[in-house]
């Protein structure tokens, strides 16, 4: 039959092309522009002659969709504005902070992220507030909108593994969030540097970088949660609402519930010290499973090196300690459980959405 030979010819040509594209000239071409590529999609596309792995094609598309979407532009401008606002208040308050506590002046630069003159909350509080919103808004329609548009079955009929799609959704959103947070973080640092003239020490720099990493993990927790909802719920509105409901529950209602429990479990006046300690521990444990609590505990410890413990300290533990800030390693050690908890929650959400996506039957609309 003609078709067999025709197809064989075609395959041969394709293989030849593939081999041609592997030659060193092309490779040099590739190495030259991993970064500039993202800055200008159109230009990159136009002179592109290399074969990209389907996964990177998917990720590229997702990233450009995110960057071009109004949703992201709006959130980006809100976050940028609040970030600039908090830098302003921090600069107002930093003078007082510098005078008040001479002994920890070495960490003055970090105060850019934590100090406020009272008109606006500091930077890290803003991140813990807007981060969930960012994560939810970037993931809530990841899978179900593809399904509703009817593109899901078409994309999955291409020669790609099914998990490429959900992985690409996650990776692309994570990429965009990382770029955004790093640029915002460095923007704040740069502004502080220019305006105050304080130079950050290496440790301060590392603390800020780990704070940014932590924020990315925190946002990706919400991102994965909303991707999970987008797999489970057919309607994007439902999954967005579910995400916001969880967020509201954690920020508003959970603390109410905990305070009700706390009231009920209040030890009597005659309680022993041990009972009081247990009671405090219970309340703290109840709070510490909150992702937002984990995040704010971890960030406070990282950004305020004088924080020595997240729980109550007995007098015996405090006696004899030198009132100096903790080194970065010790601070990280202190919040290691929070970091692990956040990463675990993020992974759990991703695994759940991955499994339910892989098990799902892909039908058209």
């Amino acid at each position: 039959m003609i078709s067999i030979t025709a197809i064989l010819e075609e395959v041969k040509i394709m293989i030849d092309n593939a081999i041609k594209l592997q030659d060193p000239v092309e490779n040099r071409h590739m190495k030259k522009k991993p970064l500039s590529g993202f800055l200008n999609f159109q230009r990159k596309f136009k002179k592109d002659d290399r074969i990209m792995h389907p996964f990177s094609v998917l990720v590229n598309k997702e990233i450009s969709d995110h960057v071009r979407s109004w949703r992201f532009i709006i959130l980006l401008s809100i976050i940028t504005l609040t970030c600039l606002g908090s830098v302003y208040t921090a600069l107002q308050g930093i003078g007082k902070a510098a005078n008040a506590n001479e002994s920890v002046n070495s960490f003055l630069f970090l105060k850019l992220f934590t100090v406020s003159d009272g008109t606006l909350p500091p930077f890290f509080v803003f991140i813990s507030f807007l981060g969930p919103l960012l994560g939810i808004s970037m993931g809530f329609d990841a899978i179900n909108s593809e399904h509703n548009k009817g593109t899901l079955s078409r994309v999955l009929a291409q020669p790609i593994h099914r998990d490429y799609l959900i992985n690409a959704k996650f990776v692309a959103a994570l990429y965009v969030i990382s770029v955004m947070f790093f640029s915002l973080g460095f923007l704040v640092m740069g502004l502080g540097l220019i305006i105050t003239g304080i130079l950050p020490s290496a440790e301060e720099f590392l603390r800020v970088v780990s704070f940014i990493f932590l924020s990315i993990i925190y946002v990706s927790f919400w991102l994965n949660l909303s991707i999970l909802f987008s797999v489970r719920f057919r309607q994007p509105a439902t999954s967005a609402l579910a995400g916001i409901a969880v967020w509201l529950f954690f920020t508003v209602f959970y603390s109410i519930i905990v305070s009700v429990i706390a009231k009920a479990a209040t030890p009597s006046v005659t309680a022993t010290t041990q009972q009081v300690i247990n009671y405090n521990k219970l309340i703290m444990d109840l709070f510490s499973i909150l992702p937002s609590q984990m995040f704010s505990d971890a960030t406070t410890t990282l950004l305020v090196p004088t924080v020595r413990s997240l729980g109550p300290l007995t007098m015996e533990q405090v006696i004899g300690t030198i009132p100096s800030p903790l080194p970065l390693g010790q601070s990280l050690l202190l919040v290691w459980s929070q970091i692990t908890g956040l990463i675990a929650a993020t992974t759990l959400c991703f695994v759940l959405s991955y499994v339910s996506f892989m098990r799902r039957e892909i039908r058209s609309r």
């Binding site: 078709s3 067999i4 389907p54 094609v57 078409r154 009929a157 020669p159 892909i362």
Partner: protein, 328 residues
């Protein structure tokens, strides 16, 4: 085995207690245009999903281009272009960009993808709307874009799930012509599912009838009707007129009709005669059309038409799908 590009062997898919596809065996040869016919919910789409490895069969095996779809779906999807029932595109991308995206997912470089997308979009007749956003496309245009979308990966097999759904009759004809023309040019094997019989009748080399998860018959249309109606008598339909009689007098008509019946009953081979108004339906054990004509004319009646009834796809359809309960 050799010429078959799609082979389903004893394929079964169960959803809980519901059996969507029931021990289906089917082979489709290379270069063939095969129509999968059946009412909604017969399991056509499920079968197609299993061919692509998008759904796992409960038992049985699917082989496409000699590759097992269940264990190696990627290789199958490289060779098969699939157009889903209700296909969608990224609305804020242009038609061309949508095609390029698909091409790049099939490991084409951007330049290569752009070239073949431009070529294909012209071939399906969308050259003027190539830079229009896909969200602005009409239904028929989307369908054409869908065809370009599957052809861009240069597949060996094209699977179209209800491709004619929601297009107007003229559009359907154009679209089916396009499918046939393109697939004959490139030598693709085409499998299309539909519940529109006439459309499928026009283009398919062979059809398979699918009811409640079972393939009840397959073959080209004429073999199919022969196979399905082999035990049926010939049915001849005749239009009788009664010259010289007052047609408003119904008693005359009745008596005259009785005479015709009597005459026809005497012909050797005629089993039963039934009459409704002036139309007569005669069941015969063999082809006695000529004798009937002669008898009617010789008795002095007028004959306005005489046809031997052919069983078309529609009769097949009514019998198996529309008839409802009488199939097992």
């Amino acid at each position: 085995m050799d010429g078959n590009i799609i082979e389903l062997i004893d394929l079964t898919k169960e959803y809980g207690s519901f059996t969507a596809v029931n021990h289906l065996s089917l082979a489709i040869g290379k270069g063939e245009i095969f129509g999968l016919l059946g009412p909604n919910g017969a399991g056509k789409s499920t079968t197609i999903l299993m061919m692509l490895g998008l759904t796992e069969p409960t038992s049985g095996s699917v082989t496409v281009c000699g590759i097992d779809s269940t264990t190696n779906p990627i290789e199958v999807k490289k060779r098969v272009g699939y157009m889903p029932e209700d296909l969608g595109f990224y609305d804020d991308y242009t038609g061309l960009e949508n095609l390029i995206y698909t091409a790049r997912l099939n490991r084409m470089s951007y330049n290569e993808a752009r070239k073949s997308a431009e070529n294909l979009i012209g071939r399906v007749g969308l050259a003027d709307s190539a830079s229009k956003k896909a969200g602005k496309y009409s239904r028929g245009m989307r369908q054409r874009l869908g065809l370009a979308d599957i052809l861009i990966k240069n597949p060996e097999v094209i699977i179209l799930d209800e491709p004619t759904l929601g297009i107007d009759p003229k559009g359907v004809n154009e679209f089916l012509d396009l499918i046939v023309r393109l697939s004959k040019e490139e030598g693709h094997t085409v499998l299309l599912s539909s519940h529109h019989l006439y459309q499928v009748q026009q283009v398919c080399d062979r059809v398979g009838l699918f009811v409640e998860g079972k393939l009840i018959a397959e073959g080209d249309i004429s073999t199919l009707s022969r196979k399905l109606f082999s035990n049926e008598p010939f049915i001849i339909e005749a239009g009788i007129s009664f010259p010289g009689h007052n047609l408003s007098d119904s008693s005359v008509i009745t008596s005259e009709a009785g005479r015709v019946k009597e005459i026809l009953q005497k012909i050797d081979g005629v089993i039963t005669v039934s009459m409704e108004n002036n139309d007569m339906s005669i069941d015969c054990s063999r082809d006695v059309t000529g004798d009937i004509a002669k008898a009617i004319i010789e008795s002095g009646f007028g004959l306005s038409y005489l046809t031997k009834k052919e069983f078309g796809l529609n009769d097949i359809y009514n019998r198996y799908f529309g008839g409802g309960e009488d199939h097992d």
